[in-house]
Symmetry: C2
Subunit: 596 residues, 2 copies
């Protein structure tokens, strides 16, 4: 195999097309104070520089780090060869601060560009990207909840990436159910009022802590969920604390990494078992406000997990396509016009492979539009001059976040697995890189709230709980369908999208009836709703691509390719969700208990 088919090639042209033509982001930036000076050319330069970092620095480390893994000793965790150096280059390039506020040392660029950067980093090296993954969340939490003294000490270090952060939530008995957490925090001065910044001693065991220890940065800022004395049971009794690995006076804090997990993938990312032994820390925000503080970072964190799905889908699909366009096996029943005849044809011409490759490409491009739109809405939520638009964007982000997290990580992992199949036996071999995408992408369906939890969030809190988000989404969907209907060349596209809108409407109606009749019923079909809504959003994304391809300024060859792929998706890839919506409408069907 040639180098081109095993290496990562950032899809810059596709990314620019989504940002500039589909989402028309440069026009939006001109209305957003913080981004008014940003233009399309500058955005392209930034992404090209990010692409160079991903290709030159991160991608070469990816396969070797998977084989090497992380090294644990009671004193320290050592990450794979090259990881610390790559981190220093990332920091020196100012990348961690891309979307942070210039007031605290950030570059103030849109979340949209940060999303595109994240896609490339994950495509090139998901394991390495895990270390950076919690910076966004830590930044938000510190900005909104840390006392001024803590902000002064920690925020510049986190924004710059000189120190990394972790999120210490999970305990052995408490995964999806944070109400069962047992870690404790005791005030240093029981007489002092328990306010943000108060000093505490934190004790407890945490598991599955990404980057709980590492050798990329000198210090690590642990954000820890724990209970103050006499806190309420359940999630209301949780508070959030900042517990650094190294204390301001240079001493090591009583924070220990007792081991790292042997995992299916992400072997370059240290997943740590942590033990806090009366470790010194400080309260962030109000007592009992731990979960609320966590939720602050949730939308952005879940969007980034969705981008991990996209990153794997893109990289694995591109590898499979490159392989299939080179590898010759058997004669194809038909050849493209003018194609040469030989003893065997490239497998990309065989119908079974064409199906897989076209589906991968259509899903990748649709997923990218959806994920980037969500990032654009985060910018709108933060930056739009009109408060109503900001509030509307927030509602849409709330509704879309579980879909982006769950549906895109499902697409990413399953797509990587389909891509593996294109390589046949070679797909099973480490050197070809695809099997690592399959293993690495699997965890994104599990962490940051399992995809089953996302489906419950979508159904119970978003579709049934907050009608405003759905109204806004339906408006956007209808607007897109109307735009298609207004163009004689896009009548089929508009018709297919309208069918999807109708399925969504009928599905939500069925859910409302279900909730009245039977509290469990919406939960029995939550997974179907997620898949159905995901397909509605793919249909919308393909329609937006089809619309954008017809705009002036799009090169004819690019426009033709975009139309072909989007219309393939609209025609061939939506039927799989019809029976899911049917199940939603049949919510009354009982579900037996599992026999022991």
């Amino acid at each position: 195999m040639s180098q081109a088919s095993t290496g990562y090639v950032p899809p810059l042209e596709d990314m620019h097309f989504v940002i500039e033509q589909v989402l028309r982001a440069p026009q939006a930036w001109s209305h957003q104070g913080a981004h008014a000076d940003l233009d399309a050319a500058t955005a392209r330069e930034i992404l090209e520089a990010g692409a160079a970092f991903a290709v030159e620095v991160l991608a070469p480390l990816n396969g070797p780090a998977d084989l090497e893994g992380c090294h644990w000793s009671p004193e320290a965790v050592r990450t794979p060869a090259g990881f610390p150096q790559a981190w220093r280059q990332f920091v020196d390039g100012g990348w961690p601060a891309l979307a942070c506020d210039p007031a605290v040392g950030g570059q103030g660029l849109p979340q949209l560009l940060d999303a595109a950067l994240s896609e490339m980093l994950v495509s090139a090296n998901h394991a390495w990207t895990m270390y950076a993954g919690l910076l966004h969340g830590a930044y938000e939490v510190l900005r909104h909840h840390a006392s001024p003294a803590l902000q002064q000490r920690y925020l510049p270090e986190v924004v710059s990436g000189r120190w990394l952060a972790t999120m210490n939530l999970t305990e052995p008995q408490a995964g999806s159910d944070l109400g069962l957490l047992r870690s404790r925090a005791v005030p240093v001065d029981p007489a002092a009022p328990m306010a943000s910044g108060a000093a505490v001693r934190v004790s407890g065991q945490k598991i599955f802590i990404s980057g709980g220890d590492q050798d990329l940065t000198d210090n690590i800022v642990h954000l820890v969920l724990a209970r103050l004395p006499e806190a309420a049971p359940g999630t209301r009794g949780l508070s959030l604390f900042l517990v650094p690995k190294c204390l301001p006076d240079g001493r090591r804090n009583a924070v220990h990494c007792d081991g790292i997990e042997k995992k299916m993938g992400l072997k370059g990312s240290a997943t740590c078992q942590m033990r806090f032994e009366q470790a010194e820390g400080w309260l962030l925000g109000e007592p009992g406000g731990g979960l609320a503080a966590m939720f602050l970072m949730m939308n952005s964190a879940r969007l980034h997990v969705g981008l991990q799905g996209l990153g794997h889908l893109e990289a694995a699909s591109a590898r499979a396509r490159a392989y299939a366009l080179e590898r010759t096996q058997l004669r194809a029943p038909c050849r493209p016009p003018g194609a040469p005849e030989g003893p065997a044809d490239v497998i990309a011409w065989h119908p079974a492979m064409r199906r897989v490759l076209l589906a991968l490409q259509a899903r990748t491009e649709g997923a990218r539009v959806l994920a980037y739109w969500c990032a654009q809405l985060l910018d709108e939520q933060a930056q739009h001059p009109d408060a109503t638009r900001r509030a509307d964007a927030a509602e849409l982000v709330g509704l879309l976040t579980p879909v982006v997290k769950a549906f895109l990580t499902d697409l990413g992992h399953r797509g990587a697995d389909d891509a593996l199949g294109v390589l046949g036996g070679y797909g099973y071999i480490h050197d070809y890189g695809i099997e690592q995408h399959v293993r690495d992408s699997r965890v994104a369906r599990l962490y940051e709230g399992t995809n089953e939890i996302q489906a419950i969030d979508l159904v119970m809190r978003k579709l049934l709980g907050r009608p405003r988000g759905l109204t806004l989404l339906l408006e956007e969907l209808e607007r897109t369908a109307a735009a298609c209907r207004a163009d004689a060349a896009l009548l089929d596209t508009g018709r297919v999208l309208q069918q999807q809108i109708d399925l969504l409407g009928a599905g939500v109606q069925a859910l409302r009836e279900a909730r009245q009749a039977d509290a469990e019923a919406p939960l029995r079909v939550a997974d179907d709703v997620m898949d159905g809504v995901g397909h509605v959003m793919l249909a919308w994304a393909w329609a937006r691509i089809d619309l954008a391809a017809g705009q002036p300024g799009v090169a004819p060859a690019l426009a033709e390719r975009k139309r072909l792929v989007a219309r393939h998706g609209l025609e061939h890839l939506l039927d799989a969700s019809a029976h899911r919506w049917q199940r939603v409408r049949q919510w009354a069907r009982p579900l037996p208990w599992v026999p022991a």
Copy 2:
């Protein structure tokens, strides 16, 4: 977690139910000369002994071998700790010869029991089982194609398992396309007639050779596809040769293992790059008869790959069920009658998990009926006193083999992945065993003919090429549906099965039209046909289970559990194939070329 939820527990009760109640195999044995002395009690004893071997010897080696992997040096491959000892125990127990002819040292037991044994071995340790995997094929090839002298020298060693065998097909440029093979065989005596047993020198490179070198046996019998001088191009020019690792006079042959692959899974199984440098060997069968000799072992080999899918599906599902019945997280919206209340409920009560677990259980039990029936038909093909029944059985086996291979390995791998999700983050951790099932099961969809190749075989050669097999299958399906209709309690079951039969009939009719109109059309929907036929066979299997549960002699609790699971499958798990059949009926839809 308790030991019970991480260890393998052979599903003996389920296996006995299929063999005795669903397939009524003991009644069939009484009509088959070779098995007339076998009764249900003896069969149970054999399977219990096999289960003990799987649990006590193989299962404990599985996880450690995955972490250790195989060790390569230019001189030899070393398998993981315990593998050679386990092989010796297997040989001492007489297991390799279970289904071989007593005339050559075998035990003459039914393929059906060998299939049940295989399921357990794979559930316990797929990697180890790979070394034994080619004995069946080598046995068949040697019996039918080896010269008497070669038979005398090699057959007893292979039947006993004292020597293991390999199948050397794939070359770097020739995977699915064996016509591209380049390995060469040159007669030692160019003047002698080129007949079975003739001495040759074999040269060439082979890849992906399971057990190409290993330290389980003193000698290895390589079966090698290569071309004699002036052989025809393509597959017609391929001949089969026996090339031993050690020659009869004790010298090492010029057979070299140049390396082993780093793979996604099956790390305890050495996947070897082989080099033959004028290695000494002998022709098996006729010149140019290589592919025909290979086909002899194909049905049995592909059935065994299908059993690998079943083995993983069973083991991963059982682990997930055990975990879900122990692990408590969050309150479930409803509890089973009389269940205790606590701060959190077992996750097996949560609707999202119930769905997954019930689906896994239903698919496992359906898949077992299908795979075991195929093994029973192999026995019928070999042993039935009536020649017509033997021929009919062969036709059915031919039709079912690609379905068992592809559909069951898809179910196995995807099911293992679903089971992983039940464990949430723990599913991603090696210690819990499920992620290894996901990795190990993946390759079964790729080797022994990729599942895409199986789908083409099913559509082109079996459904469109040999109408007799389909006629016989439809008769069996109709017979089962009629039996359901004859029982007032099974009317729904009969109705659902009839719907599936009608989908199959309409689908095949569409394929026949497609072939007339457009040579490529059946290939565009082959994957859909495979999925559709697989679901028809699951419906049939669940109907057979539902019928069997009502038979006298089935314990009431077992009957109730069997009915619940089978009916859940019939009611909830067939809708996913409706759109696949719809695509088959819409075969005329064009499929674009993949954009570069």
